[in-house]
Symmetry: C2
Subunit: 454 residues, 2 copies
């Protein structure tokens, strides 16, 4: 007779790994399937030079991300404050300026030099937005009348109605593209309710990008794996999950495996690619069709030194230039090198992906040079991680909901289906879209399996 | 060495069957894979009594659906006019009335007795809508500035801005739920551009529901199949398609098959469930995440006789009652029985799917009785086809695009990917969402394969 596992975990991203580890620690025997040839999913490091690591997926951590902080502490992984010495650069409508502040939604420090009226427009609208957001419950949005009204609008509609100036509109659109739980989405793609709720339960005001990890977040998956006794099958995508009253059967192109329970740990769209017998409830099936991944590539660009510092610059910039709306100093002091992390997001991605590889590189560098000067043109390494091209992730940072989805399909987001439990950052109630959210869902799924197994 | 097919067709819905048949007629050897245990997909008949057939999927055909009409003629399948003798019933805000007209978007015949001001509101807005729609190109919407503006709005926004009365708003929302290329969607789920373009290229003004088919559309798939020399594998879902310069390899849980070309004939969301090596281009991958299937169940209710006729009623009704917004006489004169086809759509589906099976039946019948009287409570058969529960179709009638999708991702809708070609009603440029559109895409895909094979 075939071996029967206590639990099979599908997906070896952070959430799948944590679920597997926690179950194993509780004495259960587990098996993990991963479609790709590496563990970690969107937690993905790269060793680019002796002593130098970059993160092609997530990298930052913030002070209220308790679960992720606990994980780092547990494995004794040290952090350092995200470098922000010096001035930030803003290029707005081709005008470049340096200022002692920052904003990604919430404004901090000095204000940039944009016309008073435009800045006040943005700030006033932000206050309105944040108050509306704070009035929501931090739990998954319910399908009550108020939420239905918010959900029936796009964020673009709200921006149109609540800002009067170009800068005000860009301010919110930029936030919509730059924040983790938001895809990125362009404002006309995403539900107002989704943005408001995300801002409540995964808020930029809590500084989720406050710290970075020495040697990168990408070191974490392999640390978790060493605990798992090699019970991980790489390059083995699950294609079918069959269950009845007695157990679950998991099918891949290499074999059929038995278990008492299954945890599917990935974005709902990916979970929807698997065939289920019996089929998933219709609302859950249709949620998988309506929860798309963001349109974003991450770029890591490294230099001999963080050259911007000698110019009094923080290596952080934002603006409405042609390709790069945001970049941030991600230099690990241990390496002594300079590293910028940047993104090509939303509509910019659509234009950029049509370019040749060498054009993709040169347009990004020439944009960066506008912010940081000519030295930006001569990096030592240049890495592109094109998440929408990865069919086992489907995009990045994370998934977002178009209008009308939360209040119609949201109820099914984390509901177990008999012996099948769900995990993954997309279904988190707190810090959705972030590492921390991925861990929370994994802990909850593992606990639920333990409880069901009693 | 394994047999090598000229072309493998994935999906045995109408589009897959036509593509296979056309290729075979051109002398090619083909193999068709179908995930389910029957051929036809959304073209699905049921034999409910001697001489009596119903269509659980599509059933109607209209005078400008050339390709579908040609198919019916070719197989000598006779049609009859959709029964519409007698008065239509409208129940609006609990007030029941009979009138000699009909509307599903376009209004025809007499107008119903709703307050003049409300009716004029709807008619005026319809004129505005139709003019805007006619100003579009009938081709796939391009990503030009005008279309981007239309695409960045939901249909709900347009309705809000262009109607002043409750009836006016309901009129458009009802159309949004009742028309084939529209999912159904609720107005706040769908892009204005999608609705406008659909109204242009698959217009209700062309009467797509003018005729019905004796013994049902469901008889067609098996007629096509007899031509195919049994080269169809049922219950064999394709899970992976690998291609290189020399050919294509198609993987199922039962085997691996070789071919020169592949046609994937299904809605883009379903096509996205398959793994591709090399992976699909990113824009095509993300389109599959953003093109959801409508939320709809079809119900077929049959009676000893079309009892409504003796009351001077057409067996056609619409209104904003709790469950049933639209039903239509679908009685085949050959059987002598009475048959009503109806739908539970959009938000009504969400409420309805939470009921027990027997409640689902009783609420629908009691709604029907409001339109047609107590006799409606005693059907001889009652069939529910719950398309969102079917994981190989995912919903019905068809797929629709949320805001922002057409002008960002639409360009990839039918672009071949090396040796892989696409078919299915969702990607049709004319009559998308209808049988006719499915045939058009299949003919085009088969032709493209023949051309590439030269
Ligand atoms: C560019 C980028 C930057 C980010 N920045 C940050 C940041 O700074 N801070 C932060 O907290 N978060 C950040 N995030 C988000 C963070 O990376 C994610 O929240 C987290 O990694 C998600 O983990 P997960 O386990 O939920 O999903 P995933 O990492 O997506 O894991 C899912 C896994 O399932 C596998 N899989 C899919 N289908 C199958 C199948 N059928 N069978 C088997 N396996 C399958 C996939 O290959 C994948 O490995 C960022 C993400 C991206 C893309
Ligand atoms: C309730 C309802 C009413 C409708 N009314 C009308 C009408 O009156 N008139 C009209 O013209 N149209 C109508 N339509 C639409 C019409 O039915 C469709 O346009 C048409 O049938 C679609 O055909 P298709 O081949 O494009 O897709 P489908 O019929 O969906 O065929 C796709 C096939 O692919 C199979 N498949 C999916 N994944 C895989 C896989 N991985 N491997 C192998 N096979 C796979 C599916 O099982 C399915 O059989 C209606 C549809 C519904 C649901």
């Amino acid at each position: 007779m075939a071996h029967r596992y206590d639990c099979i975990i599908v997906g070896a991203g952070l959430s799948g790994l944590i679920a597997a580890r926690n179950l194993q620690r509780a004495g259960k025997n587990v098996l993990v399937f991963e479609a790709q040839d590496y563990v970690g999913g969107r937690m993905l490091g790269k060793h680019i030079a002796p002593n130098q690591y970059i993160d092609l997926g997530g990298q930052w951590v913030g002070p209220t991300q308790d679960r992720f902080l606990a994980l780092l502490d547990e494995y004794n992984i040290p952090r350092f404050p995200s470098p922000l010495q010096g001035k930030v650069v803003l290029i707005y409508n081709d005008k470049r300026q340096e200022f002692n502040g920052f904003f990604q939604g919430f404004a901090e420090g000095d204000r940039p030099n944009v016309p008073e009226e435009e800045w006040q427009d943005a700030m006033k609208a932000w206050k309105t937005f944040d108050e509306l957001s704070q009035s929501l419950s931090p739990q998954y949005p319910e399908a009550n009348e108020e939420n239905k009204k918010l959900d029936s609008q796009t964020f673009a509609q709200w921006i149109q109605e609540n800002t009067q100036t170009d800068f005000g509109r860009w301010y919110f659109a930029y936030m919509c593209r730059a924040v983790g739980f938001l895809g990125p989405a362009e404002p006309d793609e995403v539900s107002l309710l989704h943005v408001l709720w995300g801002n409540k339960s995964a808020s930029q005001a809590e500084h989720p990008e406050a710290e970075l990890i020495h040697d990168g977040a990408g070191q974490i998956p392999s640390k978790i794996v060493t605990e798992l006794n090699n019970e991980i099958h790489l390059n083995e995508a699950v294609v079918k999950i069959t269950q009845d009253d007695h157990g679950v059967e998991v099918t891949t192109l290499k074999g059929i495996y038995q278990a008492n329970f299954v945890i599917v740990a990935m974005p709902p769209y990916l979970a929807g690619k698997i065939t289920y017998h019996p089929p998933l409830p219709p609302i859950k099936q249709q949620l998988a069709q309506r929860f798309p991944m963001g349109t974003l590539a991450k770029l890591l660009i490294s230099y001999e030194t963080p050259f911007w510092r000698s110019q009094g610059l923080a290596g952080v910039g934002m603006g409405n230039t042609e390709w790069i709306e945001l970049f941030a100093d991600s230099s690990d002091p241990r390496s002594g090198k300079g590293v910028l992390a940047t993104f090509v997001m939303g509509d910019r991605y659509h234009r950029w992906i049509k370019l040749t590889k060498s054009e993709q590189k040169s347009v990004v560098l020439s944009d960066l040079a506008k912010y940081l000067g000519q030295q930006a043109l001569s990096p030592t390494t240049f890495d592109i991680q094109d998440w929408p091209s990865n069919q086992w992730v489907g995009g990045g940072y994370a998934a977002f909901m178009p209008p009308g989805v939360w209040t119609r399909f949201g109820q099914s987001i984390n509901k177990p289906f008999n012996r099948i439990y769900w995990a993954g950052t997309e279904i988190a109630e707190r810090w959705a879209g972030f590492f921390d959210g991925a861990i929370r869902t994994a802990e909850a799924a593992a606990e639920a399996v333990l409880k069901s197994a009693e």
